[in-house]
């Protein structure tokens, strides 16, 4: 939604102007550390997690607009989008593998060359025209061209035009019905390395480290991913490195064109964009507030995010009353002195008591407040901005065009309910035409699974079990026959953004384990607590499959107690 009258508009980061990126970007987690390092890195995050925004912010074009003391990277980031049509053409597949790879690399290389030059053209000055022409001539020679690359005012503009011209020429040839295999193709080593040498001749880039920032690399065909990985596997990182943003590891191969496999920790580091916000040290609520505050500044809205999205009085008072009630229970149980145990008890059961004590026929809680919005987003920025956008539009309409200064809690609640209903609607409608690899049967299994999960979570919330507000789970019985099929279904759920894969410390020997965070927006429509709790439920693969295929209910909350894979607060980093 690119409506610029609404501060919560969300547009693909690749469509923003450089100054808009600066206006709207908010730093979170270890992103700058990862993107300014000289190591290869893969950024992982589902759609809307902020990968593109992070890459663009750390690109040279954007960083160069910042005052020198505000720049956060000393590498020269070159932003390269992988969803450009040039990266998605398939004519190369008509040739044998060697030629196919050569053509793929040819387009990769021209794209990189273009983006390097367009990034540097306006910021970096080379020496006089005579020297530039000489450098261009040398480049033409190293590319074994019949004639020199034409000079268009400056060397970078010349190479940009050359890249456009050469890619068009190759496309024209490949589009012919009886196209011939290419005689000359360019590679990273024949075009990009000499180009980087040219770039280092500018005054400011003499010792520069170039960081190629590939966005949406998971959209590339497998062969293209392998070409990119072959670059990543190059041992010497002193002068350049590669950062690639991908949706998930399942969407991406880590193999190279030579048949080897990249190794995490050795060839690259991995940064999970969503992981950083899932533990208690970092706070997604703070991050969302920062993002919204920046936008409010641009839109001259003086209210803070908390003032703009006030929590409903009834909800706030209800939860406070429930916490107090839990405190009294805790004191009765532990005595007044053990404040830690009392606080832990209130954390575990305070909010739950609010939901447990509501009359059976009560309408849904008036879900509202910036914290609720942050929780409902499940750590994905776009998931927070989207309902905020709708709330703003609704209030703007209600006020007949007067700029809202706050969004009443009832509007917040109605939009959240609407969005939650829509998400359940999409589950009922199925994903057969939205998600690759999802059949009608799979859609039904997903629907069954979430219906049973809904019942499980609701029963837990209303029971006296430990950690009643859990909304995440791990899959146990990984050696079972059911596990592969469960993994496949959960991958489809992830693609549908009903689940998010996260990594956290495991209960056994502290090793990191994969767990699944459910999209908390789902739980608004069924009256659960979107805040959730840090623990996660252990569910057997066979039970998940039984629920998906036969709508077999999961174990009741009390029966499930023995299966819990809970993290005590003290274990939580």
């Amino acid at each position: 939604m690119s409506n610029t009258r609404n501060p919560f508009f969300f547009q693909s980061a690749s469509d923003l102007q450089a100054d808009e990126v600066i206006q709207y970007y908010a730093e979170g987690g270890n992103i700058t550390k990862a993107l300014s390092s000289r190591e290869n890195c893969y950024l992982i995050g589902e759609r809307g997690a902020g990968k593109s925004m992070a890459l663009r912010y750390h690109s040279f074009l954007v960083q160069n607009l910042l005052p020198r003391d505000e720049r956060c990277v000393d590498t020269v980031g070159i932003y390269i989008p992988c969803n450009h049509p040039l990266m998605l053409k398939n004519e190369a597949s008509l040739f044998d593998k060697a030629n196919e790879i050569a053509i793929i690399e040819h387009f990769f290389t021209l794209s990189m060359a273009y983006h390097i030059c367009s990034s540097l053209r306006d910021c970096c000055k080379l020496h006089n025209e005579k020297i530039q022409k000489k450098l261009l001539k040398n480049l033409s020679y190293s590319l074994a061209l019949n004639k020199n690359i034409p000079f268009y005012g400056d060397i970078f503009s010349s190479i940009m035009n050359f890249s456009i011209h050469e890619s068009a020429a190759m496309q024209k040839e490949l589009n012919k019905i009886n196209s011939e295999r290419p005689k000359i193709t360019y590679t990273f080593f024949t075009l990009i390395l000499p180009l980087l040498d040219i770039a280092r001749r500018t005054d400011s880039l003499e010792k520069a480290h170039f960081s190629m920032l590939f966005d949406d690399a998971h959209l590339l065909s497998m062969d293209r991913q392998k070409v990119l990985n072959s670059y990543v596997s190059y041992r010497d990182h002193s002068q350049f490195s590669f950062k690639a943003a991908i949706a998930s590891c399942e969407d991406y191969t880590f193999m190279t064109t030579e048949g080897s496999t990249l190794v995490a920790g050795h060839d690259f580091t991995m940064l999970d964009m969503e992981e950083d916000f899932q533990n208690s040290k970092s706070d997604f609520g703070r991050f969302i507030r920062t993002i919204i505050s920046k936008r409010f500044k641009e839109f001259n809205i003086s209210a803070s995010p908390d003032e703009f999205f006030p929590i409903s009085d009834a909800l706030n008072k209800g939860i406070e009353k429930a916490r107090e009630s839990a405190r009294i229970e805790a004191i009765k149980k532990y005595g007044e002195i053990d404040s830690k145990k009392i606080n832990d008890y209130v954390y575990k059961y305070g909010r739950a008591r609010y939901f447990q004590n509501r009359p059976a026929k009560a309408s849904l809680p008036q879900y509202s407040g910036i914290d609720t919005i942050a929780h409902v987003s499940t750590g994905v920025v776009r998931n927070a901005l989207h309902p905020c956008w709708k709330m703003y539009e609704k209030e703007l309409t209600r006020l007949r065009g007067t700029i809202p200064q706050t969004i009443p809690p009832n509007i917040q609640a109605s939009i959240l309910k609407e969005e939650s209903d829509a998400l359940w609607g999409s589950i009922r409608a199925g994903f057969g035409n939205k998600i690759e690899g999802c059949t009608k049967e799979d859609s039904k299994k997903i629907e069954n699974f979430f219906d049973e999960l809904k019942t499980l979570f609701r029963n837990r919330l209303l029971s006296q079990c430990s950690e009643p507000r859990i909304l995440a789970f791990i899959v146990s019985e990984k050696e079972s026959e059911a596990y592969e099929e469960v993994k496949r279904l959960l991958l489809l759920c992830r693609k549908a953004q009903l689940l998010y894969e996260r990594f956290g410390p495991g209960k056994d020997d502290g090793r990191r384990e994969t767990f699944y965070a459910t999209n908390r927006l789902l739980w608004i429509a069924v009256g659960l607590d979107p805040e959730g709790q840090h623990g996660r439920l252990s569910i057997k693969a066979t039970d998940i499959l039984a629920a998906a295929i036969r709508k077999t209910p999961f174990l009741s909350a009390s029966e499930n107690e023995g299966q819990l894979n809970l993290l005590d607060l003290k274990d939580w980093k």
Binding site: K89, E91, N175
Partner: protein, 291 residues
């Protein structure tokens, strides 16, 4: 009298057989080529046999060619190899009724290269099934029709919408274009208002799409309406055109791709098609592919 060659794509749908039979009764064909999908060869066998019997009855020479549609490159190679090896003749009628759009485009392209006079024929159903396709595959550019992408330009996606807004959404999400235009078939046929216009309303808002009305059942298959928007943006954007609506829009898109080689066509395959996709055979449309 000029020799006329019929090219069709076998299907289990009633209109494949009814339409082709009707065409054979009304048009004097000398030969016919029936392409069929390897994946659905069992499902289409019955209709193929019946059509062959009809062709024999009419003394029309016939050729069968199996196509492996699972691989884009093998699909192209099979069809190209067929046209390279067979003398098709200069006057061809392509029955696009049950032909996948990517194959429509390949056949048009290869026939055009052979300087054939190409007509299309399309038979409407009497009604559609309750669902059409599912298990969508990744959108792709047809081979040789992927246009000339300019590294310096952003993307403008134009979709001729159909009844499946989820596929339109999938294509939008895949390309993340700078601009989107939905070309929406006008009229109330087949519950078009609710299935097409209303269904896309949310998506139009979400992607801030332009919308234009189009009439794919008209003489030009909607080409003129699409031309206007193409001419406005072709110099500044990489244009991608997708046909999800009436089948005749595939003809319009092909014409536009021939006029503007920079344009990329886009195909969104489905791995599963409803065996009850449509019922009966309604009116027919016939016209030149390149006027």
């Amino acid at each position: 009298m000029k020799k006329l060659h019929l090219i069709s794509f076998a299907s289990w749908e009633q209109r494949f057989l009814l339409g082709a039979s009707r065409a054979c009764d009304k048009i004097k064909f000398d030969a016919a080529t029936i392409f069929y999908s390897q994946k659905y060869s069992n499902e289409t066998e019955d209709n193929r046999i019946k059509l062959i019997n009809k062709l024999k009855e009419k003394n029309i020479a016939y050729y069968l060619e199996e196509v492996d549609f699972s691989s884009q490159s093998s699909c192209w190679k099979t069809i190209k190899s067929y046209f390279d090896s067979q003398k098709i003749g200069k006057n061809v009628v392509v029955d696009i009724t049950t032909m996948p759009r990517e194959i429509i485009w390949y056949i048009f392209l290869l026939l055009k290269q052979n300087k054939a006079n190409i007509e299309y024929i399309y038979h409407k159903p009497e009604c559609y099934g309750d669902w059409l396709t599912e298990d969508t595959d990744i959108p792709r550019f047809p081979l040789k029709l992927s246009g000339l992408s300019d590294i310096s330009k952003k993307t403008f996606l134009i979709i001729v919408t159909g009844y499946d807004y989820a596929r339109a959404e999938q294509i939008c999400n895949y390309f993340e274009p700078d601009k989107v235009c939905f070309a929406m078939q006008s009229g109330k046929q087949f519950n078009n208002t609710s299935l097409n216009s209303k269904a896309h309303k949310t998506l139009i808002e979400e992607v801030d799409a332009l919308t234009i009305d189009i009439d794919c059942y008209g003489d030009d298959c909607g080409e003129k309406q699409l031309s206007k928007i193409i001419e406005e943006y072709i110099s500044t954007r990489n244009l991608i055109l997708a046909s999800l609506g009436p089948k005749q829009s595939a003809v319009a898109l092909f014409r536009l791709a021939m006029k503007h080689p920079e344009i990329a066509l886009c195909y969104a395959p489905s791995k599963k098609i409803n065996m009850q996709y449509s019922f009966g055979c309604g009116g027919s449309y016939r016209g030149p592919v390149i006027p």
